[in-house]
Structure formats: structure tokens, C-alpha cells
Amino acid sequence: MAAPKRKTDIGPPHYDQMLHPAIKANYGKWKSHQNLKPGVLMHEGESGAKVYTVRGASARLISITTIREMCDLADKYCDGFLRYTSRNNVEFMTDKEANVEPLIADLKAMGVPVGGTGSSISNIVHTQGWVHCHSSATDASGVVKVVMDELIDYFTSMSLPAHLRIAVACCLNMCGAVHCSDIAILGIHRTPPTIDHDKLGNMCEIPTTVASCPKAAIRPAMVEGKQSVEVIEDLCMYCGNCYTVCPAMPIANPLNDGISIWVGGKVSNSRTKPMFSKLAIPYLPNTPPRWPEVSDAVKNIVEVYARDAKKYERVGEWINRIGWPQFFEKTNLEFTKYHIDDFTLASSTYNSSTHIKF
């Protein structure tokens, strides 16, 4: 047998091979769509062709066991095609209306909730956490699981004023760029790295370690006769970059690491411009395995929003209308000095007006 041929720079397979025939036939020729019920979309082509999409939840961290089961369903109902969404849901598409209900029944039997369309809470975009990352201040998949267990009814219905997007990141690096979400759950380190002076000299290259710090907070130093480094603690912003290059500088601190909650961001341009999420809760304790403080806090914000916002208002639009004082009052959240920005351009967030409600 000839040796396998190793090729480089061929790029990904062409998407053409991955499309359901009905998707291919109507490519670029779609006319409109309807959201038939939570998790079910119907797209209509110029030709009158109809394609049904069923959207199911996924943990994103999924095994080949689950993927093969998803493939079995796609073979059974969708001529062997499926896709994943930008929020890591799984989508099944078929041109046969009769397949929709049996597919939904099979998904439910598999333990896959169907929903996430329209004015719902869709899947939570998230990062690696303790499952796979060295800088994580908390787990990501576990936090997502407990929050969605709590909010599942908002996934399987479309009862909110507008869609609500939640994201989790397990450290400030924010691999998932959570900073423009209706609700962002962010793992935080709050203390500088600890330094193992006994090991550092052997394990790490000192110039590389010094260079790794974006704040220039690390300096070479002799400690008890050993080549090591020191951290200027006032400069450190707990990013963990140093730990990435030097395992003798762990950033994790079980006593102090925790979770912060941010609200009111969005990426769509609908009505208002995209917005950053702003600080709602500076610190919640890290309480695995089910983080009750975090899921309660998120649920509270969702419920107040659901009651108080006007039709089609996103969380950020709602807060901008009622104002931040009312947001803190209605959600019963404490306002602290940490909510007042002290970074570059902080002054642009001060209230320079007498626009105050009494």
C-alpha cells in the first residue's frame, strides 16, 4: 500500500458537500421565514419551496457518542445533513413537514430540549473553564449547565420581551468575547499570581516571563539567593498571562477567585447600536458544583426584565429607558464603588447632568 499522502494548506472541505439538497436548491433564493413555534422555523423560497428547521440545545462540550446520535437523527429525518449554530445549538433541516414532530419527539427522548428561537434565551456561549484551561477562575460548562437548568423554560418558550443572550467566560481573556451580552457571567481572579521561587528558576525562562506581562508588572529578582522574579502588585490586573508562560506562577486562588455579572450588552444593530455589558454584580463566590448564588442572580435579573421591559426591548434598551438607579432598585442589587469606572475614559461614564428621577 502506498504511504498516505500528506497535504498541507488545502483549507476546509467545501460547504457545498455539506448542504441538504433543499438548502442547496434554494441557496440565495429565500423569500421569508416564520417562527412556527419555539425551536421551529419555516423558511420559504421564491419558488414556494419550504424548509423546516428544528433547533435543539447542546452542551457544546459534546462527545462522539452524542455527535453520532445527532447524526442518526439527521440520517433518519434530514437525508443525512445537520448543522450547528453560532451559539452552539444543533439544527436539523428538512423539506418534509411530516418529519418535524417525530424529530422533535426523538430529540426530547434523547434529552435534547427544543427551542432557542425568537424571544427566548438561546444557548449560552461559553469557554473552557476547569475542563480544559489553565487560566480559568471558575468552570464554564458547569456554570452554563446550572444556569440553563434554572432558565430552561425561557429556552423552550418565547415569552420574553425580546431575545436574551447570555455568555460565560472563565477569565478576563474572555475567549467568548462575552462583553456584549444581555447578561455576561465572568470568572474573575482578584489576586496577583503566587510565585514558587524554588521552582521558577528551573522551570521558566526569566526574560520570557518578564516579557509576558502586558502591564510590565514583573521584574527579575534574586529571592533568598535564587534567580526568580517579583510582581509589582499595584500594576497587576490578574490576567494570568505570566502563568501561561511560567507554570511556577499560578494565578488561581481558590479563596478569592469568583464570578462577576454584567448586563445590557448587545451585538445586533436593531433599533439601537451595539453596546457593551456593564457591571451589575462585582463579586459572587465560586460555589461548585451548582453555583446557587450565580443561578439565582441571573434568574432574578431575567425575571425583573421579563416583568418590566416593554415589548421588543433588549435588556440594555430597557435599562437605558428606566435608568441605572431604577435598575439597581428593581433588581434589588447593591450599588458599590466598584460600579464606578476608574479606567481610561472613566469620566465619560459620569452623570454630568441633572437628569435624575425622584
Binding site: 498541507t8 472541505p13 435534547v112 440553563m148 475567549c175 507554570p247 461548585p288
Partner: protein
């Protein structure tokens, strides 16, 4: 008794459980077993047990593999090495089951059997393998028509919304663009040579389902130059309640209150049952089209707005992308766009500092200077408002004759 009592708590509840999933897979895979043990230890200690690794990779590539080691190799040897392989996803995250089953078989043979579908950048993220497997994985992948994604200071794997494949809002062919750019820039993707990472995301319309404006150094967002297409008969059906917005209890559209009054530019009116749009003043926000997709459609003269510079907070604070080019046609072979990106990369290469994202560089040198350097004219669409501070650095002076 189970030796993972803490994470077992995550088997409960209605949302799909990743722990349950890993457990079933652990029946046939030692790596999964030790991953569960290591994770249990993190749940107990409230801290990560991973270390970043040395550089690992495959021959000829500088990116695509992320080295990962645990801090407890003696306790749990199965995950002492647990590297990630990023596989470049097909555009739009569409799969045939035969393609996905191939990937599953590969990962059964060479890895932990665990994946992320998908990673934040867009790749298929294959979690957990060891260095000895990497060359075999790559050879097998490339034989079957697959390739690795990016990592490190390179162009990261471009990704896109599903665009024209299933969305009538798409003003550009996102999947075709994504596939073409990925292939055009294979060298930039696989061999890191930039000051830092460079992400490209392509959204078909201003709804931006891929969050390109928040998550990519270069955001390509579809828009249109001509008029919103309007079907008056369908408008009447929304007005009468025959058509509704979504399948929600309060889905009947009140055209005046829900559409016209919520239009941010005040460019719509509804009088005597006739909806009118002053398209010259529409800012393409999508609200009215989102609400009444059967009655209103994006225009036919589609193209893209190009925005630059989004990033997460570290180091200088988070940024959203901001406008560089208000409208550019995006028809193959996308020459005008590619030339623009070429100029941007060249300038960033020469002027960017190590680990400085392009958005941070633009802030450091000034957007006015940047646009000039990459051959664009300064235009008011690039900003929200002109400066209010008088500290202008004039570059030209009159000299006495």
C-alpha cells in the same frame, strides 16, 4: 460509591449534561475517565489543574494545535498530556453525517472522544490527545480533505453566519466569502507571523448573528444601498393579525407602535393603512424587517460595511469594531477587499507592537492617521461625532515667503 460526587451533581437537571456525556464516553476511553477525576479535583479545590504547555504542532505548521498538560500527571496519567486540535470547520457549520462520522471515528482512534462544536473562533475543537498522535491525525485529516485552523499570532480561522444558504436577510454570500478568504490566506492562517491574532467574522446583515462587531478584528457585515423592498399586501396582513411576529402570545404587530414608533431614525410613517419609508434616512438597523419579514425585505444592491478592531478587554480595555469602509461590493474574487486587507496587514506588521491587536494600534496611533496610511479617505461615517478637544496636531503650516 462514585468517586466523583461533586460533578455527579451536574448529571441532574433538564439541560443536556456534559458530565453525563463524558461518563458514557469514559466507558470506552481512559482519557475521559481521568478527565472526570481531574475535574472532580477542580470542583473540590476550586481551582484549575491545567498548565499551559510547551509548543506542540505538526510539521510545517505554526498553529492549529494547543499544548495542554495537567499539574497532576502522577495522579491521573490519562490526562497528563491533553492537547487540543483545531480543525477548520466548513463555512456555516454545515455537515453531512458522513463527514461528521469520519471526524468521530478519527477522534475515537486518536483522542479523548470529546469535542467542542464549536470553539469561539469557529473551529471544530478536538479536546485531548497526545503528541505522538499529532502527525497521524494531521495526515489522516488532510487525506480526507480537512485542514487545521489557526492559533497564536496568525489570521485565525474565519467564520460566518449561514447567510444566503438559509437566511433571506443576507446581503452578501457569507459562506462563499468565508471559504474563499480562508483558502486565499492559508499561509497567514497556518504560519503565525503577525504582531498578534487577527480574527475575521462575516455576518450577512446588521443583525450580526456571529457577533462579528464584538469578536473580530475585521468585521464584514452585510448591508444594502438601495431601498427596502416592501409588500403592501403583506403589511395589511400584519395589520389585520393574519400574519404575526413569531409564535408569541402577543405576536400581533401594531404597525404604528411596534414598527414605526420604534424606528430609530423616524423615517417611517403609517397613514391610512399605507406604510411609507424614507429610505434616504434609514440607517439599516433591521428592526422593521425583523418584525415583519414577510412584508419587508432588505434591498437588492447588497454589499458590506467593513469595520475594524474588536477585542476582549486585555490589555487596554474591550473594543467594538468601528467603520473603515461604509460600503463595498463583495463579489468574487473580492479583489478590492483583499487589497485593502493586504494594506492593513502590511501597515500593522510594520507598526504594531508585539501582542498589540489592530484595534489597540488604531487607538494608539489615531484613527485619522491609520485610515490615511491604509489609503482610505477620512469620512464622517467613521465616527459618532467629531472631536470636542482642541488638541489638534496640525501637519501643515504656512511659511513666510
Amino acid at each position: 460509591m462514585s468517586n466523583t460526587p461533586l460533578i455527579d451533581e451536574l448529571v441532574k437537571g433538564p439541560w443536556p449534561s456534559f458530565i453525563k456525556d463524558i461518563k458514557r464516553t469514559a466507558e470506552k476511553n481512559e482519557m475521559c475517565k481521568d478527565l472526570l477525576n481531574l475535574l472532580e479535583m477542580s470542583y473540590r479545590d476550586k481551582k484549575t489543574h491545567w498548565k499551559h504547555g510547551g509548543i506542540v504542532g505538526v510539521r510545517g505548521y505554526g498553529g492549529g494545535i494547543i499544548g495542554r498538560y495537567s499539574d497532576s500527571p502522577e495522579l491521573y496519567p490519562g490526562v497528563s498530556h491533553f492537547h487540543t486540535v483545531r480543525i477548520n470547520q466548513p463555512a456555516g457549520w454545515f455537515y453531512s453525517t458522513s463527514a461528521l462520522r469520519y471526524i468521530c471515528d478519527l477522534w475515537e482512534k486518536h483522542g479523548s472522544g470529546l469535542t467542542n462544536l464549536h470553539g469561539s473562533t469557529g473551529d471544530m475543537v478536538m479536546l485531548g490527545t497526545t503528541t505522538e498522535h499529532l502527525e497521524d491525525i494531521f495526515t489522516d485529516l488532510s487525506e480526507h480533505g480537512w485542514d487545521l485552523g489557526g492559533s497564536g499570532s496568525d489570521m485565525r480561522t474565519p467564520s460566518c453566519c449561514l447567510g444566503k444558504s438559509r437566511c433571506e436577510f443576507a446581503c452578501i454570500d457569507t459562506m462563499a466569502i468565508c471559504h474563499d478568504l480562508t483558502n486565499e490566506w492559508q499561509d497567514e492562517l497556518h504560519r503565525p507571523a503577525f504582531p498578534y491574532k487577527f480574527k475575521i467574522k462575516i455576518a450577512g446583515c446588521p443583525n450580526d448573528c456571529v457577533a462579528s462587531i464584538a469578536r473580530s478584528d475585521c468585521s464584514i457585515i452585510g448591508t444594502w444601498r438601495d431601498n427596502i423592498r416592501q409588500d403592501d399586501a403583506a403589511v395589511a396582513k400584519y395589520a389585520s393579525g393574519e400574519l404575526v411576529y413569531g409564535a408569541r402570545a402577543d405576536g400581533k404587530v401594531d404597525i404604528k407602535a411596534d414598527v414605526v414608533d420604534k424606528c430609530p431614525t423616524g423615517c417611517m410613517s403609517y397613514e391610512g393603512g399605507k406604510l411609507s419609508i424614507d429610505n434616504k434616512n434609514c440607517n439599516r438597523c433591521m428592526h422593521c424587517i425583523n418584525l415583519m419579514p414577510q412584508a419587508l425585505r432588505v434591498g437588492v444592491d447588497g454589499g458590506a460595511t467593513i469595520l475594524l478592531g474588536a477585542k476582549a478587554p486585555i490589555v487596554q480595555g474591550a473594543l467594538l469594531s468601528s467603520v473603515l469602509v461604509p460600503f463595498i461590493k463583495m463579489d468574487p474574487p473580492y479583489e478590492e477587499f483583499k487589497e485593502l486587507i493586504g494594506r492593513i496587514w502590511e501597515f500593522w506588521d510594520e507598526n504594531g507592537e508585539a501582542r498589540e491587536r489592530i484595534g489597540e494600534m488604531i487607538v494608539r496611533i489615531g484613527k485619522g492617521n491609520f485610515v490615511e496610511e491604509v489609503g482610505c479617505d477620512p469620512i464622517p461615517e467613521m465616527i459618532c461625532e467629531p472631536r470636542s478637544n482642541p488638541y489638534i496636531f496640525y501637519e501643515e503650516y504656512f511659511e513666510e515667503e
